[in-house]
């Protein structure tokens, strides 16, 4: 890793020591993995706009430094779900937006003053995202939107949703889509909480005769798939989530040192426990190798795609495995949640155990990523 990246790491650590508090982390127990104060502080430091590519008018931070930032945020369990979404949203708007969107929305997102969320998934479509059915119909110089979205995470705290709609139901599915940037305070929008097995809350959002001026359209009519592809491109660039396991391993080591078994021995002296800890640490180094490799590719200006799928696939699947290992290691004590005063380290391992499955689902499931690796990396024929 380049020395300047390590200098930058020290800077991020210093920043987190000043700005990230235990209360911020505890506050995410309400299900919203976002801290307004931290988000603003990151934006004020120039790291949000910095993460937006320079050719779009962002700060063009070196992707390797961005990778360091994301790694440190995750290592410190910083609630920063809105950050990646904001970077993707701004990038899409700057690349495809009209003057109104670039002038009125993008700056508010870059300054951290406003938040955006992603409205791709629907009750009937997830992996097959191009099958979206939420309708947008032109009415003079306005649009009328009707339909519903599922899993619109952060909608309850966000100002805008990037909404994928169907504008032509008669043509093949990829050709009849249009994107809008929809202010969430527009009349006709309803947001309902969706609770999950993990701590995070998501939302179902409903659009009932929502009227919108054409200035809120993002990209050309029926060209929404082009916009979607850039979204995926930017998402891979700042994928985040490549470093999920270290906090779990840290807790597992701590427990293994403190706990005593019935025979008085410490789990840390057990070969089976040591083997799992070492294997997990190896997986972490593999994740870091992937993450910094893709970042280095990006900083050389190379476009990558499948490497992003590999990184996410490996990181999420190994994280799930680690959570299960270390939960099992603790026996009944592993089951205690943070509501129990005796839970080890605030129930950290238990919490990660409940969170881990979603990482293999959202942002492209493991199966979809395997398809992408099979076709894009190995060159196998389309699957059946």
């Amino acid at each position: 890793m380049p020395a300047r990246a390590e200098d930058f790491r020290a800077e991020v650590r210093q920043f987190l020591a000043e700005h990230l508090t235990g209360e911020m982390i505890a506050a995410t127990r309400d299900g919203t993995i976002h801290s307004p104060a931290l988000h603003r502080a990151i934006a004020d430091r120039g790291w949000l706009s910095g993460a937006v590519p320079a050719e779009l008018g962002g700060g063009g931070m070196d992707p390797v430094e961005l990778c360091v930032l994301l790694e440190e945020l995750q290592l410190h369990q910083a609630p920063a779900d809105a950050l990646g979404v904001a970077v993707v949203g701004v990038s899409m708007i700057l690349e495809h937006g009209n003057e109104h969107l670039r002038g009125a929305v993008a700056p508010r997102l870059m300054s951290g003053e406003a938040l955006v969320c992603l409205g791709y998934s629907e009750p009937e479509s997830g992996s097959d995202v191009a099958a979206a059915r939420t309708r947008a119909v032109r009415d003079g110089d306005r649009w009328v939107i009707n339909g519903s979205k599922m899993w619109t995470t952060l909608a309850h705290v966000a100002d805008y949703v990037l909404l994928l709609t169907r504008t032509d139901p008669e043509v093949p599915k990829h050709r009849g889509l249009t994107f809008f940037v929809v202010p969430l305070d527009t009349a006709g929008i309803e947001i309902q909480a969706v609770e999950t097995m993990g701590n995070e809350r998501s939302n179902a959002t409903f659009y009932d005769d929502v009227l919108l001026g054409d200035e809120w359209r993002l990209g050309e009519v029926n060209d929404g798939w082009t916009v979607m592809k850039t979204a995926l491109k930017y998402e891979r660039g700042i994928a985040g989530g490549q470093f999920p396991s270290p906090p779990v391993i840290e807790a597992a080591v701590d427990w293994a040192r403190r706990a005593r078994r019935a025979d008085g021995s410490r789990p840390i002296d057990d070969d089976e426990v040591r083997n799992k800890l070492v294997r997990a640490m190896i997986d972490v180094e593999v994740c870091r190798s992937f993450a910094y490799h893709t970042a280095a590719l990006a900083s050389e200006g190379a476009m990558f795609g499948v490497e992003g799928s590999m990184t996410k696939l490996f990181a999420s699947e190994s994280y799930k495995k680690h959570c299960a290992w270390f939960l099992d290691m603790m026996g009944a004590e592993g089951l205690l949640t943070h509501d129990d005063p005796g839970a080890h380290m605030d129930g950290r391992i238990e919490e990660h155990f409940r969170h881990a499955p979603v990482t293999a689902i959202y942002g492209g499931t493991s199966e979809i990523n395997r398809n992408l690796v099979a076709e894009g990396w190995l060159g196998l024929p389309r699957s059946r």
Binding site: S265, E375, G379, P381, R382
Partner: protein, 331 residues
């Protein structure tokens, strides 16, 4: 350079050559001579010592091609031992020996395990063909020159493993200097074998892709079945992660960084596991032909197991990592 050696391996270390070597002791003397003439075994020894002055990273690029072809020559053992001797050898006699090793006239190897009380080093990698064997005896590094047996102990991977009598071995380094030189050589060995594994996995996956695209069942290529695709995709993902980690490890060891040995051990364990997984999936997706001697998958499948085990038990490798990262076990 990588391309030149890549071509040499592709041309000379064919599957037929690998099979021919299996009929003997797992060694292809002809290939060795060509490699030595091209400067491969000594490339990463300093120019002043008669080597090519290349870095360990350069050597790793060649080792990747060696691994891809599972070439039946002890390239890694020899290259690592040549570096060890050029660093550790101060006395006159060892200098002469080192010079012959560096030129490739003599083949050298290291015994990773202990010397038994009867002065035997057991199951020495490349022991069947090496003229020079370096080993640890107490706090010393010792080197023995003797005639190689020319026959291997029959083994799964058809590797040139043999027991060697080291009773005539001479001390070339002692104490702390010996310990650090030996540890460094082992770290280099592990990191380079991790790279070799990446080469092996890459090649076995290419075989899997080629075969499953061309083999039809139920009227379609078997490579279009999602179960097959997902197995190969998982193998490709792990193998790519292993490749990236292996090259990181080589760079760290080359730069003498403090985390070099740790990354080398991790890369070796993960590389071996990923390559075995890839070989297993590819054998499976060849169906019955994968199990046949005629197809090449089995050659890779067996070496994927053998390369790691010839260096010792994986559990011992894990235990060393655990001791370093978690502290030693309570008695």
């Amino acid at each position: 350079m990588a391309e030149a050696f890549g071509d040499l391996f592709a041309r000379e270390a064919t599957a037929e050559a690998v099979r021919a070597a299996e009929a003997g002791c797992g060694f292809d003397p002809d290939l060795w001579r060509k490699l030595a003439a091209a400067g491969a075994p000594q490339m990463a020894v300093g120019v002043a010592d008669g080597g090519g002055g290349a870095s360990l990273v350069d050597l790793a690029v060649v080792v990747h091609e060696w691994g891809r072809r599972i070439a039946p020559v002890p390239l890694v053992e020899h290259a690592v031992c040549a570096r060890l001797l050029s660093d550790a050898g101060n006395g006159e006699p060892i200098r002469e020996l080192a010079a012959s090793v560096i030129s490739g006239d003599l083949i050298a190897t290291m015994a990773p395990g202990p010397i038994e009380p009867d002065s035997t080093a057991r199951l020495v990698p490349a022991g069947a063909v090496a003229d020079v064997v370096a080993a640890r005896r107490g706090d010393d590094i010792v080197v023995a020159r003797s005639r190689p047996p020319g026959a291997a102990r029959p083994n799964t991977a058809d590797l040139p493993l043999a027991d060697r009598d080291l009773s005539g071995a001479e001390t070339v380094a002692s104490g702390a200097a010996a310990a650090s030189a030996w540890d460094r050589a082992l770290a280099e060995w592990r990191a380079l074998m991790a790279v070799a594994y990446a080469g092996l996995a890459g090649e076995v996956l290419a075989m899997g892709v080629a075969y499953t695209k061309q083999r039809h069942q139920f009227g379609v290529p078997v490579g279009s079945f999602q179960a097959v695709q997902h197995g190969l995709a998982d193998a490709a993902t792990r193998s790519e992660g292993a490749r990236l980690l292996a090259f990181r490890a080589v760079s760290a060891v080359d730069a003498g960084r403090a985390d070099g040995a740790r990354l080398a051990s991790m890369a070796l364990l993960f590389g071996a596991e990923s390559a075995r997984f890839a070989a297993d999936r590819v054998l499976q997706y060849h169906g019955g032909y994968g199990y046949s001697a005629e197809y090449d998958v089995q050659l890779y499948y067996r070496r994927a197991a053998g390369w790691l085990l010839q260096l010792g038990e994986p559990a011992a490798e894990v235990a060393r990592l655990a001791d370093a990262d978690l502290g030693p076990k309570a008695a």
